[in-house]
């Protein structure tokens, strides 16, 4: 009997319905978004590789100078192989699934210099060169297609599954056949949406293979696919519920589109606004003011600060007096800036933690939030990843300052053996398993919610038999 329904569907739906345009649209959207994301990811990766190579080459030259000085092959000068010249590149490479979502990755810095010439406000250098108009518009990425476009297309291909029979007054006749209404509706829904999702999954799978960037790409894609399918299941259940709840196709469609507006746009926008208002981050301008105050204070009291630092390190003896005093001034003022701004950074972290906690709870108000968060995280374009990179870079700067500070202030050179113990920066990313573990609760929730709504829809459809 199911085969009969499917046969009827194939003729009506494929030939006359919106199936082909919907399938074409979803494939085109995913392919375009994947192509655009791939270009963006490759450009960023190439730029970061060049930056890293340039910096490592400069560092290698610095090390050679130090080796030559220590071995007596080169005449030492106050400027050569000075510890202030140590500069490690810090880069945040795009994640292996980075072409699937741009998320926050285009807004935040992806590289920095671990150098004591820098402080916490300048560690990432000048990076704000993107067009603000296009940044404000956000990217058209695969995550957007899954979260926003797919549900709309599901609504478009599904809202009239019973409309034809109801409009023609033929539903009673259908009900008199051995086919239960529930089976008719579910079969039609699964067939129509199955086609759409099959096209979407195939298009995404093709992207995974074509844009392959190695790493844990396939594991991340497995999570991506799981989230996408569960999210699709939720919308299928909602659509079934609306079909069961409303008798006319127009009301069914209006209810679905309204639900989409509320769940996919209104609730996420409201929650974002509430979370930001409830946990405001400290002002960046206040951060800047603190950096400036610390630097100004250091510049005024350089001699006193130097004396204090040397007193804290009685083991040090003053080295080459010809080393320019601004080396020491820069080091001390940046160190003061780091210490002065630490409370602000702590407040930033507290605000971010508050927002993250709010969102972790509030995501259950809208499946679109769950899907958006998890998809962007699976693609490695989430805000948390950007913040972890920034925090790790700041920690690396602290470690470098601690390691070379005594040598800089006492105007000594860092021994080669000590330099070789310094660890270059390497971003520690979360593993796919850790990301999947965090995603488990929301995914299970979404699955349970989908089943509940689906069961409710099923029950209403059964009751509709009596009504009709």
């Amino acid at each position: 009997m199911t085969a009969g329904i499917l046969y009827h569907e194939r003729l009506n739906f494929l030939v006359r319905g919106p199936a082909l345009p919907a399938v074409l649209l979803i494939v085109i959207a995913i392919v375009y978004a994947g192509w655009s994301g791939d270009r963006w990811r490759d450009a960023r990766a190439a730029s970061l590789e060049t930056f890293e190579a340039e910096q490592l080459e400069a560092l290698d030259t610095w090390r050679s100078d130090l080796r030559d000085i220590e071995s007596g092959q080169a005449e030492p000068s106050p400027y050569s192989a000075n510890p202030m010249g140590i500069s490690f590149p810090a880069v945040l490479p795009p994640a292996s699934l980075g072409d699937f979502a741009v998320g926050h990755a285009d807004l935040h810095p992806a590289s920095g210099l671990i150098s004591t010439w820098r402080n916490l406000s300048s560690i990432f250098g000048r990076y704000q060169f993107d067009n603000p108009s296009t940044l404000a518009a956000s990217s058209f990425d695969v995550a957007l297609v899954v979260v926003l476009l797919l549900p709309v297309l599901m609504i478009a291909v599904s809202f009239d599954v019973l409309a034809g029979e109801r409009r023609r007054g033929a539903l009673a006749m259908v009900l008199s056949t051995p086919v239960p209404l529930t089976r008719l509706v579910w079969t039609r829904l699964l067939f129509r949406n199955g086609l759409l999702w099959l096209a979407a999954v195939l298009a995404m799978a093709a992207l995974v293979v074509v844009n392959d960037a190695g790493g844990d790409r396939y594991l991340r894609f497995a999570l991506w696919l799981t989230v996408s399918l569960v999210y699709g299941l939720f919308w299928l259940a909602v659509i079934a519920f609306c079909i069961a709840r409303f008798r006319s196709a127009t009301n069914t469609a209006a209810a679905m589109v309204s639900l989409w507006l509320v769940l996919a746009l209104a609730i996420p926008a409201s929650i974002a606004t509430v979370a930001e208002a409830a946990y405001p981050t400290p002002s960046r301008l206040a951060f800047l003011s603190d950096v400036r105050e610390a630097q100004g204070e250091t510049n005024r009291n350089l001699a006193k600060l130097t004396e204090g630092f040397l007193m804290d390190h009685p083991e040090l003896s003053v080295g080459d007096e010809a080393v320019p005093s601004y080396y020491r001034a820069a080091f001390l003022s940046n160190q003061a800036a780091r210490e002065n701004t630490r409370p602000i950074l702590d407040a930033y972290e507290a605000a971010r933690a508050g927002r993250a906690q709010t969102l972790r709870l509030a995501q259950y108000l809208s499946p679109s939030i769950i899907a958006q968060r998890l998809l962007v995280t699976a693609a490695g374009a989430d805000l948390d990843r950007q913040h972890r990179f920034q925090a790790q870079a700041r920690e690396a700067l602290d470690r470098l300052a601690e390691a070379i500070g005594p040598a800089v202030v006492s105007r000594n050179r860092l021994p080669l053996t000590e330099f070789d113990t310094l660890e270059p920066f390497a971003f520690e990313d979360r593993t796919s398993a850790a990301i999947a573990a965090d995603a488990a609760a929301p995914v299970v929730f979404l699955l349970v919610l989908s089943l509940l709504v689906g069961m409710l829809a099923h029950r209403r459809l059964s009751a509709a038999v009596l009504d009709d």
Partner: protein, 474 residues
């Protein structure tokens, strides 16, 4: 007869419970976005005022110092907030709000507020402009989808025609009903928005803010009128409410949600965003223009010696090191201008590519005009960064000249004091008035008006054709 149709349609629409619920949700969101926007802008105003005070205090209290050393420390220029940012923050959160006016370097604007946004901030933002440009059209489409298709489906169109209603009267009545309801709700909502915006507007820019509010009202009105006309036309294309609604829902998703994002994305795919590393290198090279060119340095030195009739730099009446510093600044200026105009050209190429999509949806043009009139677009940001750069040049010159004319050439360390620091003027930027900036938006205004005309012509022709078709088939 048209007015009877208007009355009847308004009565029907008032009875739609789903419409009422959706309208209530959107109005509630509008109120919430207004409250959030007001809070944001008030906080920002306070932060900016505090940062300006600190910046000045740190500058004035830096003690005795060499003027060039002070020029390296320098001061910041802070962007003034637009009073209408609470209606449309536009691109302002994605553009830097402070420029470091340091020696040797034209820095980009830094500290973008969007970087402090939460996890969902790149997904969607709740602002009055977003609701008016994205959510309101859906309401209009829902309201209007059955306007003609419903009459055809129920057979009431034939009854109307039998009662002597002409196609034009029918069109005017349907359009009038849609416009009247849409504009009544919008006008009320906009008056409330405007009142709150004016409450937070400084007196100095109140006149311009009022002109800008009128401009915003016109833009949103025209945009919503286009939506009404398009909805009416699409409704007339179909014989059933269901088909008309589905078509309009599709138009909405494409025109209001997806195409604006796609347009920007295509712009950056064809003209990729600048590589920050490359631009930084170009700026660094620009700042070294003088120091990298030994031949030029020699020529300039010889010219100076000849001008003053002396043989060595020590005999010059000015400090030669300071002279070199100022020359290096002046020689870097055209190089910096080349780098930044290259960036502006790239931004324009991206925006112009996106503008082609304006032919597919009026939402892109309306959004561009909205942020332009609200004073929160790229052009207003450019005016700020340009003003900051001009101020930087003047102030660094002031410091270099003090060094040049007062330090002498006897190798004694020279320091200046607070008397000189006080001459470093505070940066005060007055954004361009709408009148002055309007030229940049003429094309978009014309495009939006063309959209209105096209939508009206489309609606009228489709409605009249549908009426004729009904008459023929009767």
């Amino acid at each position: 007869m048209s007015s009877a149709i208007v009355k009847k349609d308004l009565l029907v629409l008032r009875r739609e419970s789903l419409m009422k619920a959706l309208l209530a949700v959107i109005l509630l969101l509008l109120a919430a976005s207004l409250a959030a926007g007001m809070q944001r802008e008030q906080v920002f105003d306070k932060e900016k005022a505090a940062a300006e005070l600190t910046d000045k205090a740190v500058w004035m209290n830096q003690g005795d110092r060499n003027p060039h050393s002070a020029a390296h420390f320098s001061r910041y220029a802070f962007r003034p907030a637009s009073p209408l940012a609470l209606i449309d923050p536009g691109t302002s959160d994605f553009a830097g709000l402070a420029v470091w006016m340091e020696a040797h370097y034209q820095d980009p604007a830094v500290f973008r507020r969007a970087e402090d946004g939460g996890e969902l901030s790149r997904y969607t933002q709740l602002t009055p402009a977003f609701l008016l440009l994205t959510a309101a059209p859906l309401l209009v489409f829902l309201m209007m989808s059955a306007s003609i298709a419903g009459e055809r489906e129920d057979g009431t169109l034939r009854q109307l025609l039998a009662a002597g209603v002409s196609g034009k009267q029918f069109f005017r009545g349907k359009l009038g009903a849609g416009l009247r309801l849409t504009m009544t709700v919008f006008t009320l909502a906009f008056l409330i928005l405007s009142a709150f915006a004016l409450l937070t507007t400084p007196a100095a820019v109140e006149a311009d803010a009022i002109v800008r509010l009128i401009g915003l009202f016109v833009v949103f009105s025209v945009y919503l009128a286009i939506c009404v006309a398009v909805a009416l036309g699409v409704s007339a294309l179909f014989r059933t409410r269901q088909a008309a609604f589905l078509a309009l829902a599709g138009v909405w998703v494409l025109a209001a949600v997806l195409l604006p994002r796609l347009a920007a994305d295509v712009g950056t795919s064809i003209h990729p965003q600048p590589d920050a590393r490359e631009v930084s290198s170009q700026l660094r090279a620009a700042s070294y223009t003088f120091y990298e060119d030994k031949e030029r340095q020699e020529r300039i030195e010889q010219d100076l010696l000849r001008e003053h009739g002396v043989a060595t730099v020590e005999e010059l009446p000015v400090n030669y090191a300071a002279f070199r510093l100022q020359i290096s600044e002046e020689l870097s200026i055209p190089e910096f201008e080349r780098v930044y105009s290259g960036l502006e050209d790239r931004y324009s190429a991206q925006d112009n590519t996106a503008r082609w999509f304006s032919l597919l949806t009026p939402a892109i043009t309306a959004a561009k005009l909205s942020r332009g009139i609200a004073g929160t677009d790229r052009a207003h940001q450019h005016a700020f960064t340009t003003a900051a750069e001009l101020h930087r040049r003047d102030m660094i010159k002031l410091l270099n000249e003090d060094y040049m004319f007062n330090a002498g050439n006897d190798d004694v360390p020279y320091t200046a004091d607070a008397t000189l620091w006080a001459q470093f003027e505070d940066f005060e930027h007055q954004p361009p008035t709408l009148g002055a900036a309007f030229g940049a938006y003429v094309k978009d205004v014309l495009l939006l008006l063309a959209w209105l005309a096209a939508a009206l012509v489309f609606a009228r022709s489709v409605v009249v054709r549908a009426v004729r078709h009904e008459v023929r088939s009767a």
